[in-house]
Symmetry: D3
Subunit: 158 residues, 6 copies
């Protein structure tokens, strides 16, 4: 089966990569869908985020990274995708995820949204927190892939 | 007794109408209070929201829709209202509602805030989510009254 | 309108009395319904709990304390009661209350369940905690009405 | 891929059946694993629960109902199952589910636990609540499959 | 031992003062650290907040109020502080606090973050809510120290 | 200062030991208080639990393990202890802990209850879950100190 995994990925964290790689093992093909919209003041453009993900995930033949700027259910419907994976962290607002899942299913009934628990090692890795830590000069090399750490550093040093 | 039901109603959803109509059955008179303040970037003006609510609720003799731009407790005190109804959704941050209720009671001790559970059919209807869905062209006709669907469509097509 | 307020009241706390008295101001008549069932190992029998409540609430002409041993919705339907009040504490499992309210409404559609926030002064008063404190000899006189404190003391001294 | 869906199913509800049937569409084979242990005072024996599930699900060729009385991860390891589905209700204690998922993954690292949101129609269907409602004579025919309703009725009439 | 208590304090509330004074009893020295960053649209500058806290806390010899504009863990590391106190309110998002504590500990392993429950009297005092109430002319004298009430009044009258 | 850390410790887990050792660094003396009461069907007697803790913590001069069978606040008052530490896990019901802390403070006003976050490594270690896992033969050696693993094994093999 084909599955999709949508997100902002601004920037991609080790937690994201963990969820993506575990998901890719379960499905024939996995679309990683970078949303280009909403994000206020993104650190990286959708194109930059897509390229980082492609580089990080280049050894996975069944993963395709794409940009989409509409509703994720429209992407799913267009590509006849029936499964959407969402990584969930224990400390996150689960109610919000649940509501989003049910809204998506209401808009496209054939879609199943599955929640995959983030590994405890990656509980703390929220993209927004990582950006703030980096801004204040904290060491984020244990939180993001090397290419992302390098790019963030350049961005804040610029 | 007289009761009030405050909110932003930007826009009014079927969930709001459900709570308003169920509340109106319990009290001699129900004020639906449209707050004109705070709302950053409202889709509709307070006046437009009031008019939509009036049209939708026109068959209820004991409902009066008003605009108020101060603290809701001040409206309650001014009109000697002792009961405020708040619709609560299962997936919402209940802690916030509880805190608001206690703050209001602290400012006006005679006021009782009662929480009425939203019907499961309307769990997913948050005004902010509906606006976002409409922006991306999703069909929201099952989420809001016809007059609201029509007005939202015009707003985004304009 | 007529309302009901069901509970175990084993024993009645100052928090219960607060919710009951505030509710009685809002309705012509209020039934306080003592459930006789479920309670494993009650400290007081349903009859004893009813009598304590009657004594404590004797100055309220519009309150009637009754025992009922079936589903609360059956009591509501039998007495044509359309409103059920539930006191909710900020620290309680609100999800459970929500689920109970929706189940009750599903069984008897005309019933509205309204949640009334417990006063901050009474946040800590759970009947089960009070019983445990009393068992270990803690002073519970600020937590329950005098008649209840006296009865609990006799029970544990016996 | 092969997946498993463990539970007590005492009794099976329409919510269980919904999750099972939606899961069966996603995998080549789905084991529905009835746990025979823990359950204090079950209404039905594990064998009875298995037989009800088999009858209800008889038209699904890729579903196999089995009884297992050890840790679910041991069942998974023995049958080389890498995916475990858990239905989650919005109002349930998600923290507990998360903890269970992580413990299971710690015991058997190749296992992925995926949470599938229960349909809003079935939010209220907890097996334990249904048993209590049935005990007091409430109508549960909209909550469980016909065969289950019939068996519960016989059990409580006996 | 030395401890620190970081916050925005815009403005300082009676709840903040309660937590600060209770903490000061437990440690030889307590740094109250006013963060100068992040706060969008602060009502008072970091310098003004520091001065109000100094005036309110002037009778405590072991409290030092300072401004810091980096990560709180950097302040801790620089001053060899091993204990950070965070006041927590029952109604607040505890998950967020937990995550922050763990992130801080990850950045500076010798640091212990301890949560101190806010007194029930001060449950409702969020700085942001107080500012909004003051803006609409509500009486906030029971919520903040006199000097703060006076300064807020001047700010909004100006 | 002197602090206390109460619990059931049936059995002591690596999570308990982590919290105890981190607390012992912060105070001159730390009482680890094993409650002998309440626990229904304990796996180990209070005396056995005390002895395991003593053996595990024998290298800490400032830790004293004691048994107490009353309210923990009474122990605190008797020994003039002003600080009680509670380890909290991110996934636990924080509301319950908060309530307990406030009740304890109400019974003994000089007492401060401080919550210390459990390390992510030990999030999953609930005593009750460990007992159940051990019962089904799962390997618990990464969850409890060696002496505890040995004793549990003997208990279940007996």
């Amino acid at each position: 089966m084909i599955a999709m995994l949508p997100g902002s990925f601004d920037p991609p964290t080790l937690g994201h990569i963990d969820i993506i790689e575990r998901s890719a093992k379960m499905y024939e093909k996995l679309y990683v869908v970078v949303s280009s919209n909403i994000q206020k003041n993104p650190l990286f453009t959708a194109q930059e985020r897509k390229e980082m993900l492609q580089e990080i995930l280049q050894n996975h033949d069944n993963i395709e990274v794409v940009i989409y700027d509409g509703l994720v259910v429209d992407f799913a419907r267009k590509h006849k995708i029936k499964i959407m994976i969402r990584g969930v962290r224990a400390l996150v607002d689960f109610g919000y995820e649940f509501e989003l899942a049910m809204t998506n299913k209401q808009l496209y009934d054939e879609l199943e949204v599955l929640f995959m628990p983030t590994s405890p090692n990656y509980f703390l890795l929220r993209s927004s927190a990582i950006k703030e830590l980096a801004f204040y000069g904290a060491d984020i090399e244990t939180m993001v892939p090397p290419i992302v750490a390098k790019n963030i550093k350049e961005r804040f040093d610029a």
